[in-house]
């Protein structure tokens, strides 16, 4: 289980945090709470969720890796838009998040590097 670090010996308490800062969002049809505008990756981890998607071909579970947008491992579908990086997305009230699943064709429709 992962936890929030509400108090830190050097960084202190998390700034002005009260109930009004929390929003509800949905991940794979379950409702969770997160702090408004924190990254979706952080909000999910704070809820104990590590698996954000399943590899398109092998179906193996994947979670955050770099946490700053470089690796794309944390990509999920948000409000119908696929391939969005959870580590770069601020959590908002009512956000609908779905994790990628193994599929036969490329769901994201990605024009990536090709040589």
């Amino acid at each position: 289980m992962t936890r929030r670090i509400l108090d830190h010996p050097i960084l202190g308490k998390m700034e002005d945090l009260d109930d009004s800062n929390y929003v509800s969002f949905q991940f794979n049809e379950v409702i969770y709470q997160g702090i408004e505008n924190e990254s979706l990756a952080a909000a999910l981890l704070a809820n104990g969720i590590r698996t954000l998607r399943y590899h398109e071909e092998s179906g193996r579970a994947r979670g955050i890796y770099c946490n700053i947008g470089h690796c794309y491992e944390c990509r999920v579908t948000i409000d119908g838009r696929p391939g969005v990086r959870a580590c770069l997305t601020p959590v908002k009230e009512g956000m609908d998040v779905v994790s990628g699943k193994p599929i036969s064709s490329n769901e994201g429709g990605v024009s990536s590097e090709a040589e």
């Binding site: 289980m1 992962t2 936890r3 929030r4 670090i5 509400l6 830190h8 010996p9 050097i10 960084l11 998390m14 505008n37 924190e38 990254s39 952080a42 981890l45 704070a46 590590r50 698996t51 954000l52 590899h55 193996r60 579970a61 994947r62 979670g63 955050i64 890796y65 770099c66 946490n67 700053i68 947008g69 470089h70 690796c71 770069l88 997305t89 601020p90």
Partner: protein, 404 residues
């Protein structure tokens, strides 16, 4: 389509300082970053300064950002840049949302983490050591209850200390298993040597870095004993140069690692593997300059190991051979945030010089001197021979211009 005097890609210490420098000299400046906050890698940094105060990356970032905003700098965050093009001296910057143009473009895109592949490293719960740092210090969410760091270097040692500050258990800093990719990072002797390189700062500087938490004798013990199997403790975390992680296991998330004893060459001692139960693993392969935008812009490159990899060709004024293209910060070589900020100031002044009638020779020379001074005084140095690397790139700059 938007036209700005100056556009800066990357809102870390280099980009923010350059932005303020351009703005205070009358340019209208736009800063673009794909992250949701400004500060870049500076955000996660937290260490004790020689004077006993704490370097708090969040506060430092906030100060730089607020200064830039006061000077009228505009920010587009959450804005990934896909491509750059130059036509007739005008740079066009393609982002996911909008297209921007400028004649003066600074790339301050920082660094990415080098991976170390370990069997099982795609399991959820395995993350780069920088990811754990950001989760802990910026988002204030624990990456897990109990973890291990694979890869022993200056960055991983600093972050291990930060994790333990936040009460997260780190059972060990250990090496990866040796293969074609891990090479030096899997060789106890090489790792030891690289740590001893840092010891030119020890026992004074290296020991001061986190002195309250670190046993002063750490570096001495490192040098004297080769090498206790249980490791040498640093901030109560065993640094185990004679242990390698051979596998990360778990069904659909990390459940533990197999840790084996290795000989001085990094070879596994047969039958020495033991299972260690954990819920997260950090991979610490070091940093390399993230220079992909300079590459698509057509900038010449040079491979300088001391700077962390391929860096865009540049001079001390932070100009590249391409007109109107500047670089600053870790894209020019892996160093600390203070050096990056200082380079950002030089880059900003160069941009002002080219964009306006202002002659800023004295300021530029002073800023270049400050960068060298900051480098000398840095108490966390990522590469022991950074000066040699800087000289290499400047020599390459000169020979490139002789060939022209």
């Amino acid at each position: 389509m938007r036209l700005n005097n100056a556009i800066i890609i990357g809102a870390g210490p280099a980009g923010l300082t350059a932005a303020a420098t351009c703005a205070e000299n009358g340019m209208n400046v736009l800063v673009i970053d794909e992250y949701m906050r400004t500060g870049g890698r500076l955000l996660g940094q937290l260490y004790e300064e020689p004077d006993g105060g704490w370097w708090n990356g969040i506060e430092e970032s906030r100060n730089l950002y607020e200064k830039a905003v006061e000077l009228g700098v505009e920010f587009h965050l959450n804005t990934p840049v896909n491509n750059l093009e130059n036509e007739g001296g005008v740079w066009t910057i393609y982002t996911e949302q909008e297209i921007f143009q400028t004649e003066h473009l600074l790339l301050a895109t920082g660094a990415a983490e080098s991976p170390i592949p370990i069997p099982g490293w795609t399991l959820p719960g395995v993350m780069s050591v920088g990811a754990a740092q950001v989760m802990t210090n910026v988002h204030r969410v624990q990456p897990g209850d109990r973890g291990i760091i694979i890869g022993v270097n200056v960055l991983s040692a600093a972050i291990a200390m930060e994790l333990s500050l936040a009460n997260i258990e780190v059972v060990s800093l250990a090496l990866p298993e040796k293969n074609l990719i891990t090479q030096e990072s899997a060789n106890p002797k090489e790792v030891m040597k690289s740590l001893l390189h840092v010891s030119h700062m020890a026992p004074s500087k290296f020991a001061r870095w986190g002195s309250r938490l670190m046993k002063n004798s750490f570096m001495q013990t490192l040098g004297v004993n080769f090498y206790p199997k249980s490791g040498v403790k640093m901030w109560n975390i065993p640094v185990q140069l004679r242990k390698a992680v051979t596998e990360i296991y778990g069904d659909d998330k990390v459940e533990g690692v197999k840790l084996a004893t290795i000989n001085a060459k990094g070879e596994i001692v047969p039958g020495s593997e033991e299972n260690i139960t954990l819920d997260f693993v950090c991979i610490a392969g070091g940093l390399y300059p993230l220079a992909e935008l300079a590459a698509v812009a057509g900038c010449p490159f040079y491979l300088v190991e001391e700077l962390g990899g391929y860096v865009p060709l540049h001079n001390e004024r932070m100009e590249t051979p391409l007109q109107g293209l500047y670089v600053a910060g870790n894209i020019t070589g892996i160093e600390g945030a203070k050096v990056a900020a200082s380079q950002g100031r030089t880059a900003g002044l160069s941009m002002v010089c080219h964009a306006t009638e202002n002659q800023l020779e004295d300021e530029i020379n002073y800023s270049m001197e400050q960068t060298s001074k900051t480098r000398e005084e840095a108490h966390i140095q990522f590469h022991p021979e950074i000066d040699k690397g800087r000289t290499k790139i400047l020599n390459q700059w000169k020979s490139y211009h002789l060939e022209e």
